[in-house]
């Protein structure tokens, strides 16, 4: 232990005072020295020296008192030196590779344990040199390894990434709990710690800034057998029926000229599949898929490579992403039994919207007209393609409008089953009354009648005559007609309608979630309730609207037509209807959402459900069974999690899903709209059961296994060692750690890096001794000056 002396100032006066004191001291010193060098006549050399000494003593006393100087005596000893060993614990360390194609592959983790064991003599030598070894594991974060693990470095590396830059940065930060300085770093890794050039540069910058040598031990080897999905490029959004491109870059090592299969899957189902012949080692293969989504929604797509035998890992053979498919254009089929002003009005409305792709078929002449036809007259008429529309291509439409359409007369009666199934599968259907369509019983067959909100089993003739509809209680809240509740005067301010097909509400109305929004003011059905004029239903996955009049065009053509929020009532009614039919409004009877489409592993997934009544009021106490499945496992697989909700007063229910492993998931929930069917009439496809689904993915924070080739890592570790004047060790070459590890110097000229064992402070400015000293110095000089005749 050594003693270290220093002076410490107990008081720091303002700068001007310091300047004044120092100036005074300087002037006094200069004067004293001048007087000593040029003493007055009769003054001996001894007396001049004594005067100078007394002068200097008094100056020192003044300065000491002014700055409250303290003499500090410290007992110090050296702190010691520390080596930090950073051990890569990421998943890439679990891969097996080899020095050459003929050698047996060895796991990088095994290589780590081997080099550490072989380096035991070197490590013992470090201890003798007084180096303290601090072993830490690094992946995305850094944690000290327990002593038992630090001895062997055993373990299964499963880290989702390897952030060496962060691990080195931590060493450069001041740690109040750790006073032993770091004089060197050893990094044991495969070097795959930077996915791109920018991160690579960052690692080197942080390493250089640390200011100590970094010895790197490369644990990777040049030869590996693996195929990976290195990157996927796809838009976050796509549009229905618009081609979108999904590109993937695949990288293969060690499988030259082998063939594998690349699949594009959507929600677990294979969409495309193609063979791929693998080229040279590390050569990227770009694969492109062109997809035209056929429906809106949120989907999990996945690129999957069929594994080949001997791959180092198959965890990187797939990559998933979420894509939201939006509606680009709404495809509407408008079929009318006869041209009239109502058909014209709806057509004009639909044609005006650039987002609508309209396909129209209007029956321009009947069979009796054909009978009277002048066969020489050139006609622009074309056959009505019933097969093509109602068999082959029905599913391509977002909305089908049967406008006063007598299906049977035009051989569409045989396709009503198809139309019903189209709705159950998620399609939207509008049926508009008049003198033809609902008046001939053509929609009586069970398949179609059972999905409609009104009873079409009995024909309903058109009745002409003016009337003003009434808005029902449900209509006041429903998105299609709620605006009427807000319109001044309700329907009283709107034009009268003048055609009506009187029908009763269907007996199965509750089963299909039917709701009457507008009623005839006078007509009553058998049970005494008002006859429906506009009714909606949600059979299966679809939506239906039935309008028992062909005269809504009058809501857009009247002498004193009121505008509501700047829009014609006709436009408000139909645009609202189309939005509801196409589910463009977000408030369906049951909705299921997650708070986001992608999650990092470890994040909580929030499932949120909402139930609304047919009148679009929040629906409490609704039982909603839900389940969570992995997409890969298929629709019949066991649920990962499931439960049963009961909605609260606001119609809401939620679930927090924790600790979901990496993968793609589908959450589903369902509810019964209205009453459940009786067992005797239950059908396989219950139109009253409404199910919603939501997909999402849980992914690792980084793409640790996207690129597994060790060559870039080996190169990176070499550069790191060179840049920081450390040593580079190639474990695959059976090299070991050096006994004489490159380290930094521990002490600087200021004597830092010493440990203070004890301290003694002697105050020079207070107490009787300093006062006496001051008195003697000033008094002594004065007395001596008088004696020599200078004062």
């Amino acid at each position: 232990m050594d003693a270290r002396w220093s002076l410490a100032a107990g008081f720091s006066p303002p700068w001007w005072a310091v300047a004044l004191v120092l100036l005074g001291a300087a002037l006094a010193t200069v004067e004293g020295i001048r007087a000593f060098r040029h003493p007055p006549l009769g003054t001996t050399r001894t007396r001049s020296a004594a005067l100078l000494a007394l002068r200097l003593l008094s100056i020192a006393a003044v300065v000491g008192i002014a700055f409250e100087l303290t003499l500090r005596i410290e007992q110090v000893s050296p702190l010691g030196r520390r080596i930090v060993v950073l051990v890569d614990r990421s998943a890439s360390m679990d891969l097996a590779d080899s020095v050459d194609a003929d050698a047996t592959a060895q796991r990088r983790q095994a290589r780590l344990e081997s080099v550490w064991a072989r380096s035991a003599p070197a490590r013992a030598e470090w201890a003798e040199q007084g180096l303290l070894v601090d072993v830490r594991g690094f992946e995305l974060s850094t944690t000290p390894l327990p002593a038992a693990i630090a001895e062997t470095l055993e373990g299964k590396p499963i880290g989702a990434g390897s952030d060496l830059a962060a691990a080195l940065s931590e060493l450069g930060e001041a740690d109040p709990t750790q006073r032993i300085p770091v004089v060197g770093v050893v990094v044991l890794s495969d070097g795959l710690v930077a996915p791109d050039r920018a991160t690579d540069q960052h690692v080197l910058s942080v390493a250089e800034a640390l200011g100590v040598p970094i010895t790197t031990v490369s644990l990777g080897a040049p030869q590996i057998r693996d195929i990976s999905v290195a990157a996927v490029r796809a838009g976050e959004f796509a549009f229905v029926e618009n081609v979108t491109e999904i590109e993937a870059t695949l990288v293969a090592h060690g499988f030259r000229d082998k063939t594998t299969t690349v699949q594009l899957r959507r929600n677990g189902e294979v969409v495309f599949e193609r063979p791929l012949v693998l080229r040279g080692d590390g050569v990227p293969h770009d694969v492109r898929f062109e997809v035209a989504p056929d429906r809106i929604g949120q989907f999990v797509y996945e690129i999957v490579i069929e594994p080949l035998e001997g791959e180092a890992t198959t965890d990187n053979n797939r990559q998933a992403f979420v894509q939201k498919v939006l509606r680009d254009k709404v495809r509407v089929l408008h079929v009318a039994g006869r041209p009239d002003w109502d058909v014209r009005a709806l057509r004009v409305l639909l044609r005006r919207d650039p987002n609508v792709e309209l396909l129209s078929y209007y029956i321009l002449r009947g069979f009796d007209d054909i009978a009277r036809e002048d066969t020489t007259a050139p006609l622009s008429l074309i056959p009505f393609p019933t097969d093509e529309l109602f068999e082959e291509q029905l599913g391509s439409f977002d909305l089908v409008v049967l406008h006063n359409f007598d299906a049977v007369q035009h051989q569409v009666g045989g396709y009503v089953d198809n139309i019903a199934q189209y709705v159950l599968d998620g399609g939207a259907l509008v049926m508009i009354g008049g003198d033809l369509g609902l008046a001939d019983g053509g929609y009586a067959p069970r398949a179609i009648s059972s999905i409609l909100p009104v009873d079409t089993r009995t024909p309903s003739n058109n009745r002409a005559g003016p009337y003003r509809p009434q808005v029902s209680e449900a209509g006041r809240r429903h998105p299609i007609t709620a605006w009427l509740d807000g319109a001044q005067g309700g329907w009283d301010a709107l034009p009268e309608l003048d055609t009506f097909n009187a029908m009763a509400l269907a007996p199965w109305a509750s089963r299909v979630g039917a709701s009457v929004l507008l009623e005839h003011p006078d007509d009553r059905v058998r049970d005494g309730s008002a006859a429906p004029l506009l009714a909606v239903a949600e059979p299966g996955q679809g939506r239906v609207m039935l309008l028992a009049t062909g005269s809504t065009w009058r809501m857009g053509f009247a002498p004193r037509l009121p505008l509501i929020d700047g829009a014609r009532p006709y436009d408000l009614l139909w645009l609202g209807a189309i939005r509801w039919l196409l589910r463009d409004d977000s408030s369906g009877r049951l909705s299921l959402e997650t708070d986001k489409p992608r999650y990092r592993v470890g994040e909580t997934v929030e499932l949120q459900a909402r139930a609304l009544s047919a009148a679009y009021a929040p629906e409490p106490d609704i039982e909603i069974p839900w389940r969570l499945q992995r997409l890969d496992d298929g629709p019949d697989a066991d649920a990962v999690d499931e439960g049963r909700w009961s909605t609260d007063a606001q119609g809401n229910a939620a679930e927090a899903l924790e600790a979901l492993p990496v993968g793609a998931y589908v959450a589903s929930a369902n509810r019964q709209l209205g009453e459940a069917p009786a067992a005797s009439v239950a059908t396989e496809d219950d139109p009253g059961l409404h199910e919603v689904r939501r997909v999402f993915i849980v992914e690792p924070p980084g793409r640790e296994l996207a690129k597994v080739d060790a060559d870039p890592g080996i190169d990176r570790l070499q550069r790191l060692a060179t840049k920081t004047e450390g040593a580079f060790i190639d474990a695959s070459d059976d090299e070991v750690l050096p006994s004489d590890l490159p380290t930094a110097s521990t002490e600087d000229g200021a004597g830092n890096n010493m440990k203070v064992e004890g301290r003694d402070d002697v105050a020079l400015w207070n107490g009787w001794a300093s006062a006496l000293l001051l008195l003697l110095a000033f008094g002594g000089e004065w007395i001596l000056r008088r004696r020599t005749g200078l004062a």
């Binding site: 002449r365 622009s380 599913g395 006063n404 009666g413 003198d435 008046a439 002498p559």
Partner: protein, 249 residues
Amino acid sequence: MPDAEPTVLAAPPSHAPGGWRPPTGDPIRLDLPQLRYPGNWAPRPGAMRVLARELRLRTRLEPVAEPSTVGPIEGALFETPFLYVAGEGALPKLEDEAEQNLRRFIDLGGLILFDAADGGADLAFTRSVRELLGRIMPGSELAPVSGEHVVYRSFYLVDFPFGRTQVHDSLLAVQEEGRLKVMLTRNDLGGALAETESGLPAYPCSPGGSDQREWAIRLGVNILLYATCTDYKADRAHVETLLRSRRWK
């Protein structure tokens, strides 16, 4: 199918489900109202009646048997979004309220068909129509309708705006917002349609005679099919492309 080999149905279709029966309720009838105004508003009486009849016989439209007449300030003007205005010589200046009503009629989506009974012999009617439109639709222009316009193929394939005469080779129209808002036939369409009480043509068509009359009727049918279907027949040109570009579920 209606446009295939005709089959006259005297009984319900054989494929009709049980419970099917022909409709027996009130048919939805279309009116073809004609504007009454001070002056010679009906130079060709009964023209619209004949057109209504021909529409009933040739198409699935169901016009009323006796089209109505309507004054420009009557609320009934808005009962039908179609208005026939015939005249010979200059149209009289209408009251402001009448002209405002016509403007509103067009703005709400109505179609006005002006028919010059002079058949090309006098430009006064055409000139007065332009003046009227200049007041109720300032900035709009009556311009020739292209021979490719859908009105020429909305039912029949017609390549000339036949009327009682063949003086002018084009219809004139105000075409805005993708539709014909106002049309003017200058070859006296009404003259070709009008009949005597005994049902014979009231006016000879020149130079084509009865063949020309037939073509004029076809033009009239086309105009009303256009009025009810707008540019439906223009859709059809794209149908194959639309169908082929789709990808199905």
